[in-house]
Amino acid sequence: MAAPKTWLAFAEARDGALRQVSFEALGAARAAAADGDAIVAALIGSGVAAHADALAARGAARVYVVDRPALAVYHPEAYLAAARSIVQAVQPAGVFLGHTAAGRDLAPQLAAALRCGAVTDVTAVEPGGGEGAPPVFARPLYAGKAVERRTAAEPFVVTVRPNNVRAPDPVDGAGPADVVAIEPEGAALRAIVKDVVKKTSGKIDLSEAKVVVSGGRGVKSADGFAPLQALADALGGAVGASRGACDAGYCDYALQIGQTGKVVTPELYIACGISGAIQHLAGMSGSRVIVAINKDPEAPIFKVADYGIVGDLFDVVPLLTEAFRAR
């Protein structure tokens, strides 16, 4: 039997709550671990210590916390210093983060600082064996047109794509977390975050949404997104868009899904008035169930859709909203 190892998952809060991908990072750590290994979690931010119990309830044996007002917004150098201090204390075999704006920025910095390998945008984890067989990480390549499986020498850093790795179920009656406050090493803070212009707060985060209703050039105007928003609201989902719609000025680029926009892998993706260009498919073809609504029966989107409706989105979408509200 190999000696037991420790695996570390970084959790991330947004708008005062833990993001679902934090639990998925814990799940990835669990999946990589062998029996007898320890799974611990870490929190960096301001007011984040309050989330420690939720991580313990999902199986974190201990929660390492760097909690201070200066960390309220993500800062590359400050967060790296905090993360390094935690890694120094934990000495993990592997570090797991969400493939979020912060995780994507922190992971490569941390890996460079540790001179170690990193496997990013992971969508599945195959467990390591007790006899020293390493865990294997699957990740999409070529915008989802191929999938590679990769191993890494320990220690390593992994980021997990939201909505793909199973989160451990919360355990009822789990005790309070074993919290360890970490004093971070000092860091030269050269970059200054002057301002954060919030465009997405209060809305369901696109990359983590279970349902995404997307509009393309077929919505014809900014007002054309209203019925899509109503459908998304009825399903508890988020609204996205094709670049066609963004370029036409119907919506903000923050909504763009695709190769040069966001990658989403929801349970349900409803494409309305989107032709299905390869660059758009790159951002959504990993969705579990795809529905397409398009006037043109020859639209390429129907080739990837599980269910297709040939018709005018302005007729169909409100009817769908009604049908779902009626459930």
């Binding site: 910095q109 390998g117 294997v136 349900l268 269910y307 009817l319």
Partner: protein, 267 residues
């Protein structure tokens, strides 16, 4: 202003992916500059011109065919190109970033980055590569060189030894100020990359083009051994052909709601 732009050559995104003996076939494939690196090249040219002088050097790690991508960048308006071409450099982000750091004066934050003896003010790269898509190399390089970085920028200007950037953080916009030297990765929306002009293509042929090996970088093969290993590559399972619904719009909507609930079980 002395600017270095990291350029990776990638498969054209429209290419169909064909596996031969477990590797992606490059037979007849079209290669392009990674689209995000095109924004970076354009930004380098704009910043040089705004500063009223200086130099843009494009820098890449890769096999001989990558020279074509660097020539394209020269034809766009970059001034010099450096290609690090050595099969002993491992194929992962750790190895590639170590090689790049060595070319820029070494790792460890010991002094500001330099290239060809000249201090570098601005490093530019892409947000991620559209083929391997790790989004690691540029940020790793900043960490190795000990320079600050701002990732995923949609606006960038520099003057008086500092830069102001706007960065895309999941749709929110962060405004960041940073002293130079610093590294930035380009996000869509930063600019509109220009096409190489015919005179540009002619001029590119005469521009300085250096090729370096591990020995030139003072690295041993151990320094650039990869830390990760690919153990498999496959095409994703094809999506089963979908189903077009029939009937008037109301009937289709009702049928879809039923199918999503009872058959696909997503609701």
């Amino acid at each position: 202003m002395n600017i270095v732009v990291l350029v990776k050559q990638t498969f054209d995104t429209e290419e169909r992916i064909v596996l031969t003996d477990g590797v992606v076939s490059e037979d007849g494939a079209k290669f392009v500059i990674n689209p995000y690196d095109e924004y970076a090249v354009e930004q380098g040219i704009l910043m040089r011109d705004a500063a009223g002088g200086g130099k843009v050097t494009v820098l890449s790690v890769g096999p001989a065919r990558v020279a074509e991508a660097l020539r394209t960048a020269l034809a766009m308006g970059a001034d010099e190109a450096v290609l690090i071409d050595d099969p002993r450099i491992g194929n992962d982000e750790h190895a590639v970033s170590i090689a790049l750091a060595a070319a820029l004066g070494g790792a460890g934050g010991a002094g500001a980055p330099t290239l060809g003896g000249a201090p570098v003010d601005v490093l530019l790269g892409g947000n991620f590569s559209v083929d391997n898509g790790a989004g690691q190399v540029a940020v790793r390089l900043a960490a190795l060189l000990g320079v600050p970085h701002v990732a995923s920028v949609t606006a960038l200007e520099a003057s008086g030894g500092a830069a102001r950037a706007e960065r895309d953080a999941e749709g929110d916009v962060e405004v960041v100020e940073v002293p130079l030297p610093a590294l930035f990765t380009a996000q869509q929306g930063l600019n509109e990359p220009r096409y190489p002009s015919l005179p540009g293509i002619m001029k590119a042929k005469k521009k300085p083009f250096a090729t370096l090996t591990l020995d030139d970088l003072g690295l041993s093969p151990d320094d650039v051994a990869p830390k990760t290993t690919r153990v498999g590559l496959a095409l994703p399972p094809a999506r089963a052909a979908g189903r077009l619904l029939a009937g008037d719009p109301a009937a289709q909507a009702a049928e879809l709601a039923r199918l999503l609930r009872d058959e696909a079980k997503v609701l």
